[in-house]
Structures are given as structure tokens and as C-alpha cells.
């Protein structure tokens, strides 16, 4: 019993450490004072300022578009890869796997600048195509992990039964595999979306001149000093993340818990 009390006490301290800065940020986005001074005075001023900041809104829309395309590409490429790789032998599979986790173990600053140098070697300027490729490379492992975990759980006998009953491969894929896989594809897509939406490093290196994304805008605002509308947009991002994580957790409850075992 004493152990449990100490355990909960410790957990609460850790959770305060994790959540306090974020909670303060959200509270301050509703504080009237420009510099977050106390006493707290409720105001939606900074949200009003935010929504009249055209540059920030445009950056947010661009980031959403980039993240959406990245997520779709990751899910399509990842599903195809995971379906195809099942039929290879284990050594080839291990090779595929190490390629997939590769972008996870190389710091993003190295991936970003090496893609910039690739553009230079090809004689090209920074462009959205390379930016998207960069985003796909770093988001891909997350999508694959979720889709792969679900595929492993799936019983291949069901697919064999489908073949035995005379369905061809396409019908089996459309009627059996895809419906069973779709929650994982959705969850993997959400994860890839979030990685891409938040990604500062790759965008920073690869964004075309004169363009911007939300994380880049946030970064430069922070560097130039304190702007309260950054509190507001950060709070919106955090709230949206919370919502998405909840959706993923509901979609993937069983598979996610199994990933931790």
C-alpha cells in the first residue's frame, strides 16, 4: 500500500513536469498581458490577432497540405511494402527493416542538409518535391510500425480461405485485407501526418526561398522575440494533437497496447 502511494506521488510529479509548461503556455494564450505577467486577466485578444495574421494562417494551411500529402504517400508506400515484404525470406526482411528504421537513428539535421546537398549536386533549387520526399522519409517509419504491427496480428488463414473460395488476389485484397487493415492505415496516416506537420528541421533545410511552413514561422517568431500570438497558435496545435492522439488511441487500442509488450 505504501508503495502504491509513493508510486502515485512520483507519477504525479513526473506528469506535472511534463504538463506544467504546456498548461502554462495554454493559460497564457488567454492572458491579456503581452508578457504573460500575472495577475491573470482573461482575454481572447491573441486569438483575434492570430486570425488576422495572414502570413501565419497561410503557413498553417501550407503545413496542413504538406502533412496530408506526406501521410497519404506514407500509407500507400508503407502498406504496399508491408504486403510485399511478407513473401521475402527473413534475411531480406531484416534488410528492409533496417532501411525503414534508418531515418529514425540518423539525426534529422543530417538528413535535411544531405538532401539539400543532393539538390545542389543535381543543380536544382530548393523545391516542394524534395521537401515532400524529406517529410516522407522521416514520417515513413512511424506509419510502417503501426501498419506492420496490425499485419502481423492478421491471420493469414482468412486470406487463404478467400483464395480457396475462388476469390482472386484483387478481390481478396479489396474485400478481406483492406477492411481488416484500414484502422491501422488510418492510425499510421495520422502519425505520419503529425510527424510531418510538426517537422521543422527538414522543412527548414528544403523550403523554397520566400515560402514558409508553420513550424518555420513559429521558430522565427521565437527567435525575434516574444509574440503572444505564438502562444495562441501553439495552444491550437497542442489541442489538435491531443484530439488526434485520442482518435489514434481509440482506433488502435489493442494493437498499440500490444506494441508495448
Amino acid at each position: 500500500m505504501a508503495k502504491k502511494i509513493i508510486g502515485w506521488f512520483y507519477s504525479i510529479i513526473i506528469l506535472i513536469f511534463f504538463y506544467a509548461p504546456v498548461a502554462v503556455l495554454m493559460a497564457m494564450s488567454f492572458n491579456k498581458s503581452r508578457y504573460g505577467a500575472l495577475p491573470f486577466e482573461f482575454s481572447t485578444e491573441w486569438y483575434r490577432v492570430l486570425f488576422s495574421n495572414q502570413k501565419l494562417i497561410q503557413a498553417a494551411l501550407d503545413s496542413l497540405a504538406i502533412a496530408a500529402v506526406t501521410a497519404v504517400l506514407c500509407v500507400v508506400l508503407g502498406t504496399a511494402m508491408m504486403l510485399g515484404q511478407r513473401e521475402f525470406n527473413s534475411r531480406v526482411k531484416a534488410f528492409f527493416n533496417s532501411l525503414v528504421v534508418f531515418p529514425l537513428v540518423i539525426p534529422w539535421i543530417i538528413l535535411g542538409l544531405s538532401l539539400l546537398l543532393l539538390l545542389r549536386a543535381l543543380g536544382l533549387d530548393r523545391n516542394y518535391a524534395m521537401l515532400l520526399i524529406g517529410h516522407v522519409v522521416v514520417s515513413f517509419p512511424y506509419a510502417v510500425m503501426v501498419i506492420g504491427a496490425r499485419l502481423e496480428d492478421m491471420n493469414s488463414e482468412i486470406q487463404e480461405a478467400s483464395y480457396n473460395l475462388g476469390a482472386n488476389e484483387w478481390t481478396t485484397f479489396k474485400r478481406i485485407t483492406l477492411p481488416m487493415l484500414s484502422p491501422a492505415m488510418l492510425a499510421g496516416g495520422f502519425l505520419a501526418f503529425m510527424i510531418s506537420f510538426d517537422n521543422f528541421v527538414l522543412s527548414y533545410f528544403l523550403i523554397p526561398t520566400g515560402k514558409t511552413t508553420l513550424p518555420i514561422e513559429i521558430y522565427s517568431s521565437i527567435k525575434f522575440g516574444f509574440t503572444p500570438e505564438i502562444n495562441a497558435i501553439s495552444s491550437i496545435i497542442l489541442a489538435a494533437t491531443l484530439l488526434m492522439i485520442t482518435v489514434i488511441a481509440v482506433l488502435m487500442r489493442s494493437s498499440l497496447m500490444r506494441m508495448f509488450k
Binding site: K4, G7, F18, G36, L77, A80, F96, L118, T241
Partner: protein
């Protein structure tokens, strides 16, 4: 045969062409002079290793990453143990609460500490109210301490999750056995629990140490002028000074540090498996 290759190849092409090949291109550029000296040259590497400033920053980066990793172990491992072995009801909620910050924007989380740590910010007010802090300025923001706090906040969840995954697998009956054979809790911890969960700690350490080596956003935001590390030096070469080839050489040195540290840690892990 053809179909499975067709399914796998688009993803493999992207990963090889845009994650592996660019590293070799980076290596190539690191041997080209920024100053226009023709042909291959070791100039960039010579410049890095002959300047005490760069060596000092390399050492600072390694120390910072090691400290963040160590603090994350000391803070995160007990948390993982509590979730795996002590609090059994409410475990899913706790795990979820730890995963949520892990998925929220790193940039926003680093920034959120600015509000707290600023001189005259919330933390200073709070400490003053508790009479733990008297007058003057807090003086944490724009120091190395702020960078370390921010990095631990961002990366500690990795340690909790990887340690939890190994601790959870240890059967309670093993712990009972150790106890009934007369081992006290400390002996049980050192001889049973720790060796059996070492793999999780090592994996977590890699997942923390490596990105810390390459970090530049958090040091910039929270460390200000005191935050220079290898990552910020590379960033400056690409965005301020336009010494791209020199930047490529530093990035390659960073990559070498990453690979060596991963090699060392996975060797530690393997030795543990043989002994265990």
C-alpha cells in the same frame, strides 16, 4: 515473384535514394574546398580539428547529450518501474498521458519552457510566492541548464516507454522467487530486475543520446548565446556563413559520432544478453 518486388520497390527506392545516397553526397562535398581550391582536399577536416573552439563545442555537445541521457534514466526508469510493477490499475491511462507529450510538437514544447524560465516569468513568481527565491533575476533561461531541462522534457518519455516494455515482461513470480530465496529488495533489484531490463535502458539511451547530439533548435531557443553546440555550428554554416562544404564535413563528423555511440551501446546490450 514479380509482384512482391513491385510492391516493395517504391518504398525501398525512396529510402535508398533519399536517405542513404545523400549521405555519400554529403561525404563527397566535405572533401571540397569552400574557398575554391580545386580537387579533393582535407582542408575542411583540418580546419575543424585544428580549432580549439570546435573541439570544445564537440566535447560540450557530448557532455550535454550524456547528461540528458543520464537524467532521463534516473527520472524515467523509476517511472517505468512504477507503471509496470506497482500501479496496475490505471496503467493504460498513465501510459497514454506519457505518450501524449511525446507526440506533441518539439518546437512548441521547447518554446513552452521559455514562458516558465524567463527572468520575471511564471517560475520566478511562483518561487517568490513560496519564499524560495529572493529578489534579483532567476537567470535560468539562455543557459546550458535551460537547454538540458528542455531536452529532458522532450526525450525522457522514450526512456519511460522502452524501460516499461522490458520491465513489463519480467514475471512477478521471478521477483517472488528471488525474495523467497532470501534476497533483500536491493539485491533483487541489482541482480534480477536491472539485468533483465537493461536492454530497455540501452535502447532508450540510444533514442535519447543520438538526437541530442544532433539537436540545434532547443539549444538555440533555450540556450541563446550560451547554447552553441555542434548542431548550431552546422546550422550557421548553412544559413549564415554559407560554408556548405565545411558544414558537410562537420555533419559527417557528427554522423561518425552517432555511429560510434550506437555501436558502443549495442555492444553493451549484446554483452548483457550473453551474461544474462
Amino acid at each position: 515473384m514479380k509482384k512482391k518486388a513491385l510492391l516493395v520497390s517504391p518504398a525501398m527506392f525512396i529510402l535508398i535514394a533519399f536517405a542513404v545516397v545523400p549521405l555519400f553526397i554529403m561525404l563527397y562535398f566535405s572533401f571540397i574546398s569552400d574557398g575554391g581550391v580545386p580537387g579533393f582536399t582535407l582542408e575542411n577536416y583540418a580546419r575543424f580539428f585544428s580549432k580549439p573552439l570546435y573541439l570544445a563545442l564537440t566535447w560540450k555537445t557530448i557532455k550535454m547529450s550524456a547528461l540528458v541521457t543520464l537524467i532521463s534514466i534516473l527520472v524515467g526508469y523509476p517511472m517505468a518501474y512504477i507503471i509496470a510493477k506497482i500501479i496496475k490499475s490505471g496503467r493504460e491511462i498513465l501510459l497514454l498521458l506519457i505518450i501524449i507529450p511525446f507526440w506533441s510538437s518539439q518546437l512548441v514544447r521547447a518554446y513552452s519552457w521559455m514562458n516558465l524560465l524567463r527572468d520575471g516569468g511564471i517560475l520566478q513568481d511562483f518561487l517568490a510566492k513560496l519564499h524560495l527565491f529572493k529578489g534579483g533575476e532567476l537567470g535560468i533561461l539562455f543557459t546550458q541548464t535551460a537547454v538540458i531541462i528542455g531536452l529532458v522534457h522532450i526525450f525522457c518519455p522514450y526512456m519511460i516507454i522502452t524501460s516499461y516494455m522490458t520491465l513489463e515482461k519480467i514475471d512477478d513470480s521471478v521477483l517472488e522467487a528471488s525474495k523467497s530465496l532470501g534476497a533483500n529488495p536491493i539485491t533483487t533489484f541489482l541482480r534480477v530486475i536491472l539485468p533483465m531490463s537493461k536492454a530497455g535502458i540501452v535502447t532508450g539511451a540510444i533514442l535519447i543520446f543520438v538526437p541530442c547530439l544532433g539537436s540545434f533548435v532547443e539549444p538555440r531557443i533555450l540556450g541563446g548565446v550560451n547554447g552553441s553546440v555542434i548542431g548550431t555550428v552546422i546550422q550557421d554554416q548553412f544559413f549564415e556563413i554559407y560554408g556548405w562544404n565545411f558544414g558537410a564535413a562537420i555533419a559527417f563528423i557528427l554522423l561518425a559520432m552517432v555511429l560510434v555511440s550506437m555501436g558502443v551501446m549495442s555492444a553493451v546490450n549484446r554483452r548483457g544478453e550473453e551474461n544474462g
